[in-house]
Amino acid sequence: MQRSHEFRVVAQDPTVVDGNQQILTAVVKVPWEPLDEGPRGHRVAVIDFDATTGRLYDPWMPDPARRSPRAPSNQQIETDAAFHAQHTYAVVMRTLARFEKALGRRVEWAFDGQQLKVAPHAFRHANAFYSRDHQALLFGYFPSRERPGSWVWSCLSHDVVAHETTHAIVDGLRRRFLDRSHPDQAAFHEGYADVVALLSVFSLPLVVEQLLWKEKEWKGEEPMVDPQTQLIARSHLSVERLRHASLFGLAEQLGSEMSGGREEVLRRSASLDPQAGLEWPDEPHERGEIFAAALLNSFVAAWSGRLRRLGDRVGALHMSQVAEEASAAAETLLDIIIRALDYTPPVDLRFEDFLAALLTSDSRVRPDDSRWSYRAVIRDCFRRYRIHPPEGTTDDGTWYPATRLRLVYDHTHLESIQRSPEEVFRFLWANRQELGITDQAYAHVLSVRPSLRVGEDGFLLRETVAEYKQDVDLTAGDLHRFDVRQPDGMPDDQPLRLSGGGTLVFDEYGRLELHVYQRVFGRRQTERLQSMWSLGLIPRDLPEVSGLLSPFGVWHQRRAARDVSPKGW
């Protein structure tokens, strides 16, 4: 029985070549499923339509006899639409599979449907984006300025595809992260997608080998890799040099024409010195770069730590071994940051919340971190960027367990609470006071999802993760009644919608283990409002309540008037 499909993908982008000037490619595996032309499977459907030209391009065909050769030439890579389609499909599916493996469940999309549509050549513009409304990933293309006569295909940039796919996945897991909120939240979406994209690239040993090989000189030292033996002396494996080789090296390689800004993320991660007086910009991309820098430097530090433990008596390591350790570090860190999503609050996310979520989820999945000390490394890197665990966390930086609360489980059914928003809401309602949830705002359960992990004893443990949100409408003049400070300059009659919410994690017995709660009122709401107000993000009016009579209202009116005609009065 087949377990996987193999696809050949561009390892970075078409400007990155090996020693023979061949575009660097890699073979990746994605979970097997029957595929239609496209490729089109149960989660991803590639439909290669170009809105600019009105054309449909040659699709990838499931019939092996009609597929491109296994090792395509540069020319084929650049101009074969079917190759582009299968490359894009493979990177999307690989990214999706990565998330599902780490979370132990299928990931829903944020839209009403199960198939994410992908258009590898959607339009002739230098852009690529995820659209919830269109249920799609859309990739642009344009004539290259740096290589006249060539084209830049954003779908062939491995990190661009992984980045956009990550947006789609995070949107499915946390729909409210696209709401307007504190600058950290918008920055998180971008910074997190950048990190996943870049770690996905670093998880390919082939790519890391290229980066190491190309690291010819640094601060007057010898080249990193001995060209004869392909060995790397231990003295060349300092954190600083690895950082330069990997982050700066990849930044150099990412084509400036279509790096989506990741080139800058890498440069800043390689060069940003948090000790030199860090300014926190409000602009989401810049702010997200700081978050990404903390995580990417965690990767380098973890990689370096792994290398240090590889036989201290060995004076040099083979390049492939160093690359494998990078890949292993990248894969582990990917698992850690993916699992952390389940432990984040559903609204008003701050970087510090993500840190706490990461430390909490990882300590539960991998209680023993003594071998590689990932959590210590991450915490240290975040600390250097002045990101510390928030209030309401333990000395380890983890969320306080909810087991100390006196909760009522009467009339709560285990089977139901593992899948039913209504059951979860019943639990919330019965325990709202003990959980500290305000009843001044309506609460609404957004999702109930399983999360599977392997416990210390090797048994499969099933947790249930539920999100709920709270909203309340009021005017600025009323804020003081609810322990929220009115932002400077905000008029009293400014209408506001305050949001809060929480994430509940139930154990396999339906007992609450964690409650990660963002209060509707209080200090954080004050901070959120102040930053949104100063950035001009608070609209003058609230979203309008629909003025349309519901269909039921129309029908009942007609019945009352004895009007049975299909049209109006």
Binding site: D58, H84, S131, W151, E283
Partner: protein, 417 residues
């Protein structure tokens, strides 16, 4: 010093566009006139033609010295400087033509980059020129699948694409005045002095790249204004007019019916992408607007073109300028009454707002239903702004349905505005 004894602003009922003729009478010597913009994208129903307007301008000005001002190159500010309306202005005694520095025609028409590699101002000008071409490309693309798009989306692309197309003839006509042309930046206050005695003219915008850099916050990367190079770099200019070298689907393979569902959405997404680019181009172009303040004694008349918040941010960053603007007695409402062009802080600072005597006079040249949408709260003119103008100023507006060629607003002499 020459004494200005009368001042009148004629606000022509041009439609969605601007055409203001400021006429200054002197105790000694001929009157002098300043024609501030002349263009439109949409004519009012039963309104005057641009030829009729030009004929009236020529009549009013006669042989008097005239200054032409094109605050920026959008069609709704310059279209009248071309075609038959331009012919009707042929007899004007033009002594000075004022445009923003971004219009300076130093660069060869086919220049892809600045003359000096380090000249960011030149790079800016190249990018602006590319933008006009890009606007035309995008409009044509959207037209090719207009039927698949929501009407509001299609209409806005059409409007912005049209407004941002380079009006080559108008640009040439204005540039033909050669040495009488001035390409102004913030602070070029002396430019008008030889031509308007008794009047001080302050130029508050647009800033050059260098001027902007002085006050720009480190974190301020939001303004698309400053990413013009990226847009022009990624512009959809044809290189050889080629289609992408990808094989199209074999026609013998039937197209699954479900493709149509997605194809419509890809078109809509592509159109939204185009609209995003066009809005950025439009805003960037608006931000090239000259912001002029005319001062005669205690009178102060503000003409900001279509300057938006970024351009205004530069002007308002200076405390002395802010203090000066508080004394504004006449305000030409920016960008036809859009919200972004009248910063709230500026509006609130006008001392004569709501005054019982000597109330602020405002002039709004606009047409409803052309730009923006009520549903998205982007309609031009913006209702909330118009309410404020009505309640707190003496408002003159061209979209009030009245007939006539223009509103004559007396600023000095005769009955006040």
């Amino acid at each position: 010093m020459a004494e200005v004894t009368s001042a009148t602003v004629r606000m022509y009922r041009i439609g969605f566009g601007d055409c203001f003729l400021l006429s200054l009478g002197y105790a000694d010597g001929p009157s002098r006139h300043v024609l501030i913009d002349f263009g439109r994208t949409r004519a009012p129903k039963n309104g005057p033609s641009t030829e009729e307007i030009a004929t009236d301008i020529a009549r009013v000005c006669g042989a008097d010295p005239v200054i032409l001002v094109a605050t920026h190159r959008h069609k709704d500010h310059v279209s009248g400087f071309a075609g038959k309306s331009w012919e009707a202005l042929a007899g004007l005694n033009v002594v000075f033509v004022a445009q923003p520095w971004t219009e300076q025609p130093d660069l060869p028409p086919d220049a892809l980059g600045p003359l000096d590699a380090g000249a960011t101002d030149d790079a800016h000008r190249v990018a602006l020129r590319d933008m006009s071409r890009l606007a035309g490309d995008l409009r044509e693309q959207a037209r090719s699948f207009r039927d698949d798009l929501p009407r509001t989306l299609a209409d806005e692309i059409e409007f912005l694409g049209d407004d941002n197309l380079g009006n080559a003839e108008a640009v040439r006509n204005l540039a033909s005045f050669g040495e009488r042309c001035g390409y102004l930046k913030a602070g070029d206050d002396a430019a008008f002095a030889p031509h308007l005695p008794g009047v001080t003219v302050r130029v508050l915008g647009p800033p050059t790249i260098e001027q902007w850099g002085e006050i720009r916050k480190k974190t301020d990367t939001h303004a698309e204004y400053w990413h013009l190079r990226a847009f022009s770099t990624s512009a959809t200019r044809d290189q050889g007019g080629d289609l992408p070298p990808l094989e199209v689907r074999d026609e013998a393979i039937p197209v699954p019916l479900h493709f149509q569902w997605f194809q419509r959405r890809v078109r809509a997404a592509a159109a939204q992408e185009m609209l995003g680019i066009l809005r950025s181009l439009d805003k960037a172009m608006n931000n090239t607007s000259l912001i002029l303040v005319f001062q005669v004694g205690k009178h102060q008349w503000l003409f900001p073109g279509d300057a938006q918040i970024e351009n205004w941010s530069f002007a308002l960053s200076d405390p002395e300028t802010r203090a000066m603007l508080e004394r504004t007695t006449f305000y030409k409402v920016g960008h036809h009454g859009s919200l972004n062009a009248t910063p709230s802080s500026l509006w609130k600072s006008f001392e004569r707002r709501g005054a019982d005597e000597g109330r602020l006079v405002t002039a709004l040249s606009t047409l409803k239903g052309v730009h923006g949408s009520v549903q998205r709260r982007t309609e031009v003119p913006r209702r909330r702004l118009v309410d404020a103008l009505r309640h707190e100023s003496v408002l003159h507006r061209t979209d009030d349905g009245r007939a006539g060629l223009c509103d004559e607003i007396q600023l000095i002499g005769g009955e006040p505005g």
